[in-house]
Symmetry: C2
Subunit: 314 residues, 2 copies
């Protein structure tokens, strides 16, 4: 007899990763299949069944699977829906938890990807034992999960924790959401690229980035900074200031013991987070100073999403 598993599914804009996870947070088996390329969400569910069901059968069958946890952008814990996710192939409201549950014949729970990551960190990662922390994902966009009193803050409607859409700069950059100055238009991979392209237009000084103008990637900015390129270093400093100021305001609301960073841009390490921490501390009310730990996720990116999703089940 096998031990019981949770099935964790992380639905990204491009790929969907999944894994069977035991209660101790060990991923027994994992794989993925494309999110893109299906005409309808029903076709996507067919592809999901084809990818996942054989893996379940090879590992003791459905009887061993306690349930399914799903992390997805704009996912709602209370309704199980994905709502108007800008990076998903399907527009509008997708009742994903129900579709997955019917498709796989297993109980399914869904939350947004950053909330899932926060739960994963709390159960298996850097946040183990913390009752009050903020998880910030710095990827294509900015996501967040706020934990207070040992519980994720879902809000009355399941949509709490959108730090990426706090207005960091009044009348600032246009955001995909239709408003101006959202944090994620600055403090994400997309945001630092936008800063670089802007600065190459408005500044005249030389930079390694000039050769990539018009098609700069966040990786190139990182590499230029590592080579000591002043503009690239200044871009990280500027981004860190905006993120640090915004985090100082968030701390005044939930007073966390730690902020945990996750995602591609978090890997830029002190190039970015050093500035973030300094500007956050400078902008903190005295009550909060020198108390908020700055931590990086210790879980591998792909695993964290699967672990977080699976943690919804227990």
């Amino acid at each position: 007899m096998n031990e019981p598993f949770a099935l964790g599914i992380d639905i990204g804009g491009t790929n969907s990763a999944f894994g069977l996870v035991n209660r101790r947070g060990e991923i027994i088996v994992k794989s993925s299949f494309p999110t893109k390329g299906h005409a309808t969400v029903e076709d996507y569910i067919v592809a999901m069944k084809a990818a996942i069901l054989p893996v379940i059968d090879d590992n003791g069958g459905k009887g061993n699977v306690i349930g399914v946890g799903i992390g997805a952008p704009s996912g709602n814990f209370y309704t199980g829906e994905i709502v108007d996710a800008p990076n998903m192939p399907w527009p509008g409201v997708i009742p994903m938890a129900r579709l997955v549950s019917e498709g796989l014949g297993l109980k399914a729970t869904l939350t947004n990807d950053a909330n899932a990551a926060a739960i994963g960190e709390m159960m298996y990662g850097t946040a183990k034992g913390l009752k009050d922390f903020i998880l910030v994902t710095l990827g294509t966009g900015v996501g967040s999960g706020f934990v207070a009193n040992g519980q994720l803050i879902y809000g009355h409607d399941g949509f709490a924790g959108e730090l990426g859409h706090v207005i960091a700069v009044r009348e600032g950059r246009m955001c995909n959401c239709g408003r101006k100055g959202c944090l994620e238009t600055y403090a994400s991979a997309t945001g630092i690229v936008a800063t670089a392209e802007e600065w190459l237009d408005t500044h005249t000084d030389g930079s390694l980035l000039r050769t990539h103008k018009g098609e700069i990637t966040s990786k190139q900015i990182h590499e230029a900074a590592l080579q000591g390129d002043k503009m690239a270093l200044d871009i990280f400093a500027y981004t860190g200031k905006i993120l640090g100021q915004t985090l100082a305001d968030a701390v005044a609301i939930t007073s966390p013991a730690a902020i945990i960073f996750f995602g591609g841009l978090a890997k830029s390490g002190d190039l970015l987070l050093g500035h973030v921490q300094r500007h956050m501390e400078e902008n903190l009310l005295h009550l909060y100073r020198n108390k908020v730990a700055f931590l990086r996720s210790a879980l591998p990116d792909a695993d964290a999403a699967i672990l977080g999703a699976s943690a919804l089940v227990w």
Copy 2:
């Protein structure tokens, strides 16, 4: 045999109000004594005993009092201390819960005044039955209590919920806390007075407020607005915009079902709150629009503070 009571004490900068409250939130008896005018906090405790102990004796004695709940500015739930409260007569860290407990010979719990008000609203007031809401006190300063999942957010250190010290205007007005642009430098009684005094200097148009220049009160601004004075009306509109923008950002973090307003400035009603609500809605991410109820506390000011403090006991 009398029914059991909680003793609620609201320690304000000028006066301390207290009352004996039963489990249904009925204040059986209430009174007050001065906070100011005592050389030391020990002298204050002596005055407290003189004021409170006879009232307890008249109502069945200490045996009938389950415990003491205290609301105080900059009060910390975890430590029972008042920490660097700018409006208190005593500087530094005051172990108030312990002093009260020793003084009265009763178990005492303390939290900050806005948190106490939030608990009072949740148990006995407008927030009854709400699991996710924000209480905002608009008085001399701006206080707040955030409730999520039916629990007050204290944060890891007991200092969460300082909405008044979120930076509403970058590089804005100097705050007592030493930083610039804090919400409470604009959206409090002190804040609207500062706006009025500033505008009388920088604007040339006539206003009923000109006759009070140099000693304007928030009440005068309210009265001038009621008489249709354009500058006074514009001051409320300006204040409402800043508060509305800041609340929109707070909603993106905790997604509350309601925001409940309490305190002197909240009584300006639609003169202020109409603008607040409009600007909050305009600045909300689409997910949150037309979902957040705007409510005013239904508890009388003096009673709410006592009720909130007493509610800590149960």
